[in-house]
C-alpha cells in the first residue's frame, strides 16, 4: 500500500513519525502510545476546527440561500463569528430545572460527544492515514449512531419537560425506523467490496477506478435520507422541531450544554458526509488525481461537498411530520433497500462467479442508475399522488357568491 503513494508531496505523517520515533527509541510500546496520541490529537483538532468552521459555513451559506448576507460583523467576512458564539455560550448561565433528573441531566451533553468523535476514528484520510482499521468498520459506524439516539433520549427524559419528552420519544421512534434502511443501504457496498473495513472499501474504489456511487445509486439515496433523519436535520428535524416542540430534547439545556448539542449536530453532519464520501464516493481517491494532491485534502474536500449538500437541504425544505417520516421509511426506503440488496447480490454473484474484469462495473452502473430512476419514479408517484389530486392554484371568481348551505352543525362552545 505504501508504494502507491510516491508523489511530490509524500505527506504521510503517521508513517514518517513512526519511523522517526523508531529511530530514536527501541520501545515498541512507546511508539505505539505516541502514534496513538498524535493521531487522536490530529483527528480531534480536525473535528474541533471543523465544528467551528461549520458554524460559520452554515450561517453564511444559509444566509446566502435566504437572500441575506449572513454574519459579517465579527472579523473579516464574519469569520470570527463562531468564536464569538462560543464565548457567548460559555459565559451564559447554565440553568438546571429543579425537577430534572439530577445526574442524568448532566450526562447527555458529554455522552453525545463520544460517538460523534469515535466515528472519525475509522475513516481513511490517506492510504496510510487510518487511525483504527476495524474489520467491522461499517457495523461500528451503525452501532455508534444508535448510541447517539440513546444519549439524546436521556437528555429528553432527564429534562422532565413535556416538549423534551416528546422530542425524546420522536428520536427513539426515528432511530428504530431509520436504522433498518441505513443498515440495508450500507450492506450494498459491503457486498460489492467483500469487506467491512472502511479503508478496504476505499481501496476497492481506488484500484478499480470507479466510485461505488455509480454502481449503487440507490443506497446513496437511501443512506443520505436515513442519515439526515438520524442527524435531526431538516427535512427530518422532528426531534427538535422548533415550530412544534420548541427545541425538542434540548429545550431545557442552556449555555455550553446546549452548545455541546449544537456542536455534536455539526460534527455528526461531518461524520455522515465522511461516511458518504468514503463508502460511496471514493474516499481519498480521485481517479488518479490523488497522486498530485494530498489525499487527505481530497477527502476533506469531499466531506465539505456533502456537508454543503446538507446545508442546502436545511435551507430549502420544510419539515415532514413524524408519521409521514416513518411511512417514508417503512413504505419507501425499506422496500427499495430490499429490492436493491437482491439486485446487488445477484450482480456481485455474476461478477464473482464469472471473474469478469472491472468493465462489468460500468454495465452495472448503467443498469442500477436506470433501475433507480424507475423505482424512485414509481414510489414517488405512489406516495404523493394524493397531494396532486387538487389544483395547486386558487380559483378566481369575479363576483361575491355564497352557496346555500344545510342547517348549522357547528358545535363550538356547546359540548365538545
Amino acid at each position: 500500500m505504501r508504494a502507491v503513494v510516491a508523489a511530490w508531496y509524500d505527506f504521510d505523517p503517521f508513517h514518517e513519525l513512526y519511523e522517526w520515533i523508531g529511530d530514536v527509541t527501541s520501545s515498541e510500546e512507546l511508539v505505539y502510545v505516541i502514534i496513538a496520541v498524535v493521531g487522536a490529537t490530529g483527528i480531534l483538532s480536525f473535528v474541533g476546527l471543523g465544528a467551528l468552521a461549520n458554524v460559520w459555513l452554515e450561517r453564511k451559506i444559509i444566509g446566502r440561500i435566504q437572500v441575506r448576507r449572513g454574519p459579517n460583523r465579527v472579523g473579516p467576512g464574519g469569520l470570527l463569528q463562531p468564536v464569538a458564539d462560543a464565548i457567548k455560550l460559555i459565559q451564559k448561565e447554565v440553568l438546571q430545572p429543579r425537577a430534572s433528573d439530577g445526574k442524568l441531566y448532566n450526562l447527555p451533553p458529554i455522552l453525545v460527544f463520544i460517538p460523534a468523535m469515535l466515528t472519525f476514528a475509522v475513516f481513511a484520510w490517506a492510504p496510510d492515514m487510518v487511525y483504527a482499521d476495524l474489520n467491522v468498520g461499517v457495523l461500528y459506524l451503525l452501532a455508534l449512531s444508535s448510541v447517539t439516539s440513546l444519549a439524546i433520549f436521556m437528555a429528553g427524559w432527564a429534562s422532565n419537560n413535556k416538549y423534551a419528552l416528546l422530542g425524546a420519544m420522536r428520536v427513539i421512534a426515528m432511530a428504530v425506523s431509520y436504522e433498518i434502511p441505513m443498515v440495508l443501504a450500507l450492506l450494498a457496498p459491503v457486498l460489492f467490496t467483500g469487506t467491512m473495513s472502511i479503508p478496504g472499501i476505499v481501496d476497492f474504489q481506488r484500484t478499480n477506478d470507479i466510485w461505488l456511487a455509480f454502481m449503487l445509486p440507490l443506497p446513496v439515496f437511501i443512506y443520505a435520507i436515513s442519515a439526515t433523519a438520524e442527524l435531526n436535520r431538516t427535512p427530518a428535524d422532528i426531534a427538535e422541531a422548533e415550530s412544534e416542540i420548541v427545541a425538542g430534547f434540548h429545550t431545557e439545556y442552556s449555555g455550553m450544554k446546549f452548545g455541546l448539542f449544537y456542536a455534536v449536530e455539526l460534527i455528526n453532519s461531518l461524520a455522515v458526509s465522511g461516511i458518504l464520501a468514503s463508502l460511496f464516493f471514493g474516499g481519498y481517491s480521485l481517479f488518479g488525481i490523488d497522486e498530485y494532491i494530498p489525499p487527505w485534502i481530497i477527502f476533506i474536500g469531499k466531506i465539505y461537498f456533502f456537508y454543503f449538500g446538507l446545508i442546502w437541504l436545511r435551507g430549502t425544505w420544510p419539515r415532514l411530520r413524524i408519521d409521514q417520516l416513518m411511512a417514508f421509511s417503512w413504505k419507501m426506503l425499506i422496500p427499495l433497500a430490499l429490492i436493491n440488496i437482491a439486485v446487488v447480490s445477484a450482480e456481485v454473484l455474476i461478477w464473482r462467479l464469472n471473474e469478469f474484469d472491472s468493465w462489468i462495473f460500468w454495465v452495472y452502473a448503467l443498469m442500477n442508475i436506470v433501475m433507480m430512476f424507475v423505482l424512485l419514479q414509481f414510489f414517488f408517484t405512489m406516495l404523493t399522488k394524493n397531494y396532486y389530486r387538487l389544483p395547486r392554484r386558487a380559483t378566481l371568481i369575479h363576483d361575491v357568491s355564497v352557496p346555500s348551505l344545510p342547517a348549522p352543525t357547528f358545535t363550538q362552545g356547546g359540548n365538545a
Partner: protein
C-alpha cells in the same frame, strides 16, 4: 401511534412558544402525538384598548388601531377612520380615498407575505421562504416610511383623509415594486407549489367545512379557502373599491394549503388593484379639515372592511362628547381562531401548529 391507550398527556403550547405568533396559549391533551382535546387561553396581550378609547378623542384613538393588528396597521387605521367618518358625516376627498386603497392593498401584500412566510416556517422550513417574502415586505415598508415616517405602526389615516400626501420619489418606487411584484409572487409559487413536503404537510390538514366556517362567522382568506367567494370589498364596497376590477380567489378543499394559495393569489389581485388605483389617482387635497376635538352628534356607526385577516369591523357610539361613548372592534383574528379547536382535535401536534399558522392570527388583534 393512535390507539395504544397511553395515559393522556397535557401540554401547554404557549404562551412562550416559537409558533403561537404572539403570546397565545393552546392547552392540548395528547394521546401519543394526537390531540384529543384543546383549550385556547387568551388575554395575555390584553391592553384594554376599547376602554382606554373612551377617555380619548376620536383622533387620539387612531394609534390604538396601529397596535391591534400590528402587521396590518394601515387597514386598522382605515377601518377606524371610516367608522368615525360615518359617525361624524365627514366627506373624504377622492385622492385620499385612492391613497387609502393603495396603502390598504400594500398592507395586504405585506401582511400576506408575513402570513405565508410564517406558515411555511410553521411547516418546518428553516426561515428561507419567510426571508424571501420579507424581501418584498421590506420594500413595502420602505414605501410606508417614505410617506409617513413609520414602518410598522404607521398612524397614517386621519378622520377625513390621510395625514400626508405621498412624496414625489414615492411614485417611481411603487411603480418599480408593482412591476416586479408579479414575478416575485410567481417565484414563491415556483418555490412552494411543487414542494412535496409542503403539500404533504398542508394538503388535507385542518380541513374547514364551508358550513362550519359560515356558522363560526369566519371571514377573510380562511373563509375563501373553503371555496366561498366572499369579500367585503365587493359585497359592501368602501372607499373606491367599486371602481376596481379584481377577482376573489377561492380554494378547493378548505385545508391549510388552500388558505396558503388564496393568500398568494390575493397578493396578485392586490397588485392589480394598486395598478388600477395608481392609474386613476386624481390630484387634489388629501384631507378634509376636521376639528381636532371632533364632537359627532349622538348616534352609532358600524363599518366593516376587508382586512388582510378578514372582516374587520369597527363599532363606534357617540354621546355627543369629544370621546367615543363606546368603541368595539370585531377582530377577524379572534373569530377565525374560534374554529381552531374544531380543526385541531384529532390532529397531531405538528398539524395543529400548521393549522394555527394557516389561520394567520395576530394576538395583538385578538386581545386588543
Amino acid at each position: 401511534m393512535s390507539d395504544i391507550g397511553t395515559p393522556p398527556y397535557v401540554v401547554n403550547i404557549g404562551p412562550q412558544h416559537p409558533s403561537t405568533h404572539g403570546v397565545f396559549r393552546l392547552k392540548v391533551t395528547l394521546d401519543g402525538e394526537r390531540i384529543i382535546d384543546a383549550e385556547m387561553v387568551l388575554g395575555y396581550l390584553h391592553r384594554s384598548m376599547e376602554k382606554l378609547a373612551e377617555e380619548r378623542t376620536y383622533t387620539q384613538n387612531i394609534p390604538f388601531t396601529d397596535r391591534m393588528d400590528y402587521l396590518a396597521a394601515m387597514t386598522g387605521n382605515l377601518g377606524y377612520c371610516l367608522s368615525a367618518e360615518k359617525l361624524a358625516g365627514v366627506e373624504v376627498p377622492e385622492r385620499a380615498s385612492y391613497l387609502r386603497v393603495i396603502f390598504a392593498e400594500l398592507q395586504r401584500i405585506a401582511s400576506h407575505c408575513m402570513a405565508n412566510g410564517t406558515f411555511v416556517n410553521d411547516c418546518g422550513a428553516w426561515q428561507t421562504p419567510l426571508m424571501y417574502m420579507f424581501r418584498e415586505r421590506e420594500k413595502i415598508l420602505d414605501l410606508f416610511e417614505m410617506t409617513c415616517g413609520a414602518r410598522l405602526t404607521t398612524n397614517y389615516m386621519r378622520i377625513g383623509g390621510v395625514a400626508f400626501d405621498v412624496p414625489d420619489e414615492w411614485y417611481p418606487s411603487i411603480n418599480k415594486l408593482m412591476a416586479e411584484m408579479p414575478d416575485r409572487i410567481s417565484e414563491y409559487e415556483e418555490m412552494l407549489h411543487d414542494n412535496e413536503i409542503l403539500l404533504a404537510r398542508s394538503r388535507d390538514v385542518g380541513v374547514l367545512k364551508p358550513d362550519v366556517a359560515i356558522n363560526a362567522s369566519v371571514s377573510g382568506p380562511v373563509l375563501r379557502g373553503c371555496g366561498i367567494a366572499w369579500d367585503i370589498r365587493k359585497a359592501d364596497p368602501y372607499c373606491v373599491y367599486d371602481r376596481m376590477d379584481f377577482d376573489i380567489p377561492v380554494g378547493h378543499n378548505g385545508d391549510c394549503f388552500d388558505r396558503f394559495l388564496v393568500r398568494l393569489e390575493e397578493m396578485r389581485q392586490s397588485v392589480r388593484i394598486i395598478k388600477q388605483a395608481l392609474e386613476q389617482l386624481p390630484g387634489g387635497p388629501v384631507t378634509t379639515p376636521v376639528p381636532l376635538a371632533l364632537r359627532p352628534d349622538p348616534g352609532e356607526a358600524y363599518v366593516r372592511i376587508e382586512s388582510p385577516k378578514g372582516e374587520l369591523g369597527f363599532y363606534l357610539a357617540s354621546d355627543g362628547g369629544p370621546a367615543p361613548y363606546r368603541w368595539h372592534v370585531r377582530s377577524p383574528s379572534f373569530i377565525n381562531l374560534s374554529v381552531l379547536k374544531e380543526l385541531s382535535v384529532g390532529l397531531s401536534i405538528a398539524d395543529a401548529i400548521v393549522t394555527l399558522g394557516s389561520l394567520d392570527i395576530n394576538v395583538g388583534e385578538i386581545d386588543r
